[in-house]
Structure formats: structure tokens, C-alpha cells
Symmetry: C2
Subunit: 384 residues, 2 copies
């Protein structure tokens, strides 16, 4: 059985006021080409299909077109779960009807075992959508952390699990070796909650032959090679600039699991450039002369000039039309200046961060950011 | 072939600050009971599935449960279209996958003919989702009105139509005999546009054997008995207080069409009561003594008292716990007082209306209401 494992599509995401929808359309086309070429027996999307609980309608259309192409035209079963960015109830609409045609979406309820067979071998898929522990806490007093929550779900699954089959779990969570610090995190993953309460120890998945994870944007495995993140489909922040993006091709024969990472190259990359304004403009001109093309990548520029510059963003934009942000190193303090000053199209989270940085000398820690993000989201979801 | 024709479910609707979701859950249960009893071969829902382009997640769940029950458990094909209240793109998510399991939802694109057969007879269904003429206008200069738009669609359908089959069109529009004034309109239908540009002449549908319409909330036929509105599932305003609500049972044998209206009784009715405060309280006490139950209906009370009353709504609410609105006839001028003064949960449309009425002596005409509703919606949809 050959499975494509992907996650964290975040369709409809806006990064520094740039909509990613055309990049996502492009990369999903490439993904479909790869499906055409490799003909997997199943496709897993391990959560964060969308970037928001209520996605833009262009995002809805793109996901619809992609799933229709995979399930109807290519006739490949797709297993998808909601992530912490998705609204489980909305993503799960029609799921019992969709599954009749081979699209298995677990929105806000756990799916029963889904069975596929290939070459007389049984493959059992367990879909675990992202679940806030609070949902369980209201029913079971002793469920407090994400670990408790996943343990509860896994124990439930185990009551009906056949150890002779190949057992595959699909989840969206922050899985690690508890106490260790080895996982690679990125800025664009929204923290699930504050502190260690969100971490799930990998040992919880001992009984599964493959665990297809979503949430962390850097591809990696945790504990053992069969517990794995595919990483996000695209780079969604400059902290991911050195990462390679793509999908896990998972070939499973009984209990034998082989994973190959297959890269998908984006239309526009995320790049950090560093130098004086003069150096950066010269580099760009040289490259443009050589290739005959402008650099369309998403750029974060770090300017090393000592002296004051008049509107450097204008000069850079002529050569890097998709420059996203600019940073100037001066007086040992970094100033960040987003290229777009229009507050109307900045998110409340971004606005608060800018406000905080410009009005205080404190560090805007991850903990503070989490707190503010949580509050703003609670308000925005409006789904009480 | 036996078809159930229903429309205008408006799931998630809020009337005078009362959420209709539990009434809708109740009536859809009754609807499913009726389906169980009558075993129709197909079910039509002619638009306005939801009340808003972005419905509350409880509304999404209720529609999901209902459709799953009909399509998966009862195995009855369902033909649904989006209405002017729905977001076509959102309602159409997964439609090409859902149709494989027997759920045909036309969101924002015209469906090809869907063919069913029964007793060696062919039944062809054409689903026409609600379409703003502006969508077509951008492509075709000569499409200006809803009439132009529907004509264009019907002509397109006709190129591929078999006159020997039974041809059924499902639409969401304001159909009338142009120049006549015979259709029954209600306050809770949102006007499509201003003036006559929204009206479609029924003669456009001459070649169809049955036309299942949605949009008008009062059950009626237009021009001939086979061009028909089922009316809304529930009363959604006091202008609908005398209407009967239910569904059309359509029995078609070739070109012979028989329609029977089947009533569905709501958990709580909409009622207007009129009298002095003393009379109304006495009536309620008498009824309560007789039945042993409070009157849980949604009430609009018209008070005939000449003298000033101190907080009459409090007195009435003890006996009519779901009183929605109160009107006092005094000095030949009607004063409307909504029972809930909390502006936070009133819609912008309501707030504007109250503001207008309290600050001017002009009549708040339908035209003004349409204009304000359009502007507010354009802003709220935010789907540009």
C-alpha cells in the first residue's frame, strides 16, 4: 500500500498581507501531478485544511476542486481530519455522505475504523480530529491536558484494534519526547495552548504501525521513524525559510514501513536577504540580467546600512516586487517595518504586536503572543 | 414517482432575537417522520437552506444531520439548490462528491440534467441555484433582470431537453404573472432587489412538467398548478400568521401531475393577540386552567388600552413566555416596542429600523428597507 501523507495546507492563509491562494493553487496542482505519477492507494491530510474556522470562499472552492479531483476523477480515497485552525463542525459537513464516495473527513467526531485492503493485507485507518481537552473535560474530570485527551482516544481505539492488521493513526497534535527539546517548531504554527499542557508523548502511539501527524510545519519524525510529520505544504513564515516542503510517500507492506520524502517546489519561495541597500540592489540587478526575470520570491530584507535611508522599501520593491518585510539593524536594536502600513488589512494579532513593540521595551514573548492570540480568536470565532 | 417539494428552511434564522433552531429541529424531525411514512422517491429543497451566507455551526450541524438521515439512512435522493440567503460556494462544497451518494446540491453552478427512472418512465431534474443577474451581466451585456437571467438558463437547458421525459425544474426566484399582483408575499422573504427587476414571468417555464420553487414563504401556485411554491417550513414573521406550513407531495405519472399539500404542525406557532391587557391576561389564565399548560407560542400582542400601562410586557411574559413583540394603539399612531432592548443582540437591520422610526415621522417603506438591507449585507458578506 502506497500512501501520500500531507498536512497543514492552511488554504486561504494570508502572510504579511499577501494572500497565499495563488501559491496554494499552484502547489496543489503540482501535488495532483505527483499523485498522477505515483498513483498512491490513499491520501492522508492530517489537519489544518484551512487557515481559519470560517475560510474565505475562494479557499472553500480550492479545497473543493482539489478533493473532487482526487476522489472523483482519480478515484483515490482521501482521509482528512480537522486541525486546530479548522472548524470541526463546518469541515465535517456532509461527512457521512461524502464517505460513500471515498472522502473520509473527520470534523468533530472520531471516525470508526476505516478498512482498506491491498494484496490480501488489511489496513485500518483511525482518524483523530484535533480536539480541545476542554471538550472532554466537561465530561471527564481527569482529562486536563492534550496528553490525557489523546490517551483517552487511543485507549478507546485500542478496544477494537486488530494487532494483525496494519494500523494507521491520523492526528493533529504537538507530539514530542516529553522532557526533550528536539522538535523543530516554526512561527507559523499557532500554539495550541500555553506551556507543556499541549505536548503529547510519542510513546502513546506504540501500538500503531504508522502515525501521520499534522501541526508542526517542519517535516520530522518523533521517537521513531514511523511517527511522522509531513510538514506544511508551503513555507508560511520566514522561520521556515531553510525548510524543504513536500509530502511523505509511505510504502507499507504489513508491518514494514518505508518513508520517502518528496519535495514540492513552490512558485514563489520565502527568502531572507541581508546586506546594504546598495549590495542588495546590485545583486538583484545582476540576477535579473542573468536570468532575464525579476525575483518574485517573498523576501525579508535585513539592511546593514549604518546611515539613515530614505524609503528603502521603494527601492527594493522595484527589484523584489514581493518583498514582505524589512528589518534594519541599528544601535543594536532591530526595527521591523512591515511594508504595508495599511492597518485596515492587518490582522488584530499583528496590530497588537506592532503596538506592543512600539510602546514598550519588554520582549513580546511567545507566552504573551499565545495569550493575545487566544483572546482575539475566542472573540473572532464567535462560536459560543 | 412521488416527490416531496419543500423550500425556505432558513436554518439558523433568528426572529425578534429568538433563535428558531429548536423549532427547526422539531419540524425537521416531523418532516423525517412524514418521509418515513410516505416513502417519497425523491426530495426537493428549493433554496434558502440556511438563513445566512455564513450560518452558525449549530445550523450546519442540523442541516448535516437532516441530509444524512434522508440520503444515507433512508436512501432517498435529495435535490437541493442554494437560495438568495445561502452562499453558493459554501453550500456547494463537495457537491461532485456528495452526488455519488445521492445528494445533489447545486451551489453556484448549474447542474447537468439528473436522471431518475421509475416504472420505465424517465424523470429529468434541472437544478437552478439562485443567481444574481450581475454574475451573468459581466459576461453578457444584454442580461439585466432576473427574467433575462432565467431566460438565459432555461434556453441553455432546453438545448438538451427530452420532451418525452418528465421534466422538473427546481428554482429559487420571485415568479409571477408579470403585470398581475396575485402572489402572496411575506415580510420574512428578503427582497431580491428593488422594483420589478426581480420578477420572472411564469410563462418562461412552459416546457416543464413541474416547477418546484422556493423564495416566497406562502404556499401557492403561479399561472398553472404545476408551477408551485411549497412555502417556508415554518412561520418566520407575523405577516405569515394565517398561513399553513408544510410541504408539497407531488405525484407524477408521465405528464400527469397531482399535488397534495401536507401540513406540518410546529412546536410553537406564531400568533397575534389583541385586546386590553386585562382581557389578554384573563384569556391566558382561562386557557392555562383548561389545558394545564402555558401558551408557549410566539406572540405579537396588540394592546387596546386607552390609559398608560406600566411595563405591560412583564405582565404578559408571565403568561406568554415567548412573547416577541408588543404594539400599543394610541392616538391613532402605532408604537412598536420590541421586548428585548438589548441592542447587542439585535441585527444592524433591526437597529436601523428602530432608529429611523424613533427619529423621523416618515414611513419606513419597503424600498428604504431594501436599500438598507442591501448595504448592510454587502458589508457583512465581506465576500468581494
Amino acid at each position: 500500500m502506497k500512501i501520500f501523507h500531507t498536512s497543514d495546507w492552511h488554504i486561504g492563509k494570508i502572510v504579511n498581507n499577501y494572500s497565499m491562494i495563488s501559491d496554494q493553487t499552484y502547489i496543489l496542482d503540482k501535488f495532483i501531478d505527483l499523485v498522477e505519477e505515483e498513483k498512491p492507494d490513499a491520501i492522508i491530510i492530517a489537519g489544518d485544511l484551512y487557515d481559519r474556522p470560517i475560510p474565505h470562499k475562494l479557499a472553500v472552492k480550492l479545497l473543493n476542486n482539489t478533493l473532487t479531483e482526487l476522489v472523483i476523477n482519480k478515484k483515490i480515497p482521501v482521509f482528512a481530519i480537522s486541525g486546530n485552525h479548522d472548524s470541526g463542525a463546518r469541515v465535517g459537513f456532509g461527512s457521512d455522505i461524502l464517505r460513500k464516495a471515498g472522502l473520509y473527513i473527520a470534523g468533530d467526531t472520531l471516525y470508526d475504523k476505516i478498512e482498506l485492503s491491498k494484496n490480501n493485507k488489511s489496513f485500518h485507518f483511525y482518524l483523530v480530529p484535533y480536539t480541545e481537552p476542554t471538550i472532554f473535560r466537561s465530561k471527564y474530570n481527569d482529562i486536563k491536558t492534550h496528553q490525557d485527551c489523546m490517551e483517552f482516544i487511543v485507549n478507546k481505539i485500542k478496544t477494537n484494534m486488530n494487532p494483525l492488521a496494519t494500523n494507521i493513526l491520523v492526528g493533529h497534535a504537538y507530539v514530542s519526547k516529553i522532557g526533550s527539546d528536539t522538535v523543530i517548531k516554526s512561527e507559523s504554527e499557532k500554539p495550541l495552548s500555553i506551556g507543556d499542557a499541549e505536548v503529547i508523548d510519542y510513546s502513546i502511539f506504540n501500538d500503531f504501525d504508522y502515525v501521520a501527524l499534522g501541526h508542526l510545519h517542519g517535516r520530522q519524525y518523533v521517537g521513531r521513524p514511523e511517527i511522522r510529520y509531513s510538514g506544511s505544504l508551503l513555507k508560511y513564515s520566514f522561520s521556515e525559510v531553510t525548510q524543504i516542503k513536500g509530502i511523505n510517500k509511505v510504502e507499507i507492506n504489513g508491518k514494514d514501513v518505508q518513508v520517502t520524502y518528496m519535495e514540492l517546489k513552490p512558485k514563489k519561495d520565502f527568502k531572507i536577504i541581508k546586506g546594504t541597500l546598495e549590495e542588495l540592489t546590485q545583486q538583484a540587478r545582476a540576477a535579473e540580467n542573468k536570468t532575464g526575470k525579476q525575483n518574485k520570491d517573498y523576501i525579508h530584507a535585513i539592511l546593514m546600512d549604518e546611515e539613515e535611508l530614505i524609503n528603502p522599501i521603494m527601492a527594493l520593491r522595484k527589484l523584489y516586487p514581493n518583498i514582505m518585510s524589512l528589518e534594519k539593524i541599528r544601535d543594536n536594536k532591530e526595527f521591523n517595518l512591515n511594508t504595508d502600513r495599511d492597518y485596515k488589512i492587518k490582522s488584530p494579532v499583528q496590530l497588537f504586536e506592532e503596538f506592543y513593540n512600539s510602546h514598550t521595551n519588554y520582549i513580546y514573548t511567545l507566552k504573551k503572543q499565545q495569550y493575545v492570540t487566544d483572546v482575539i480568536e475566542e472573540v473572532q470565532r464567535g462560536e459560543l
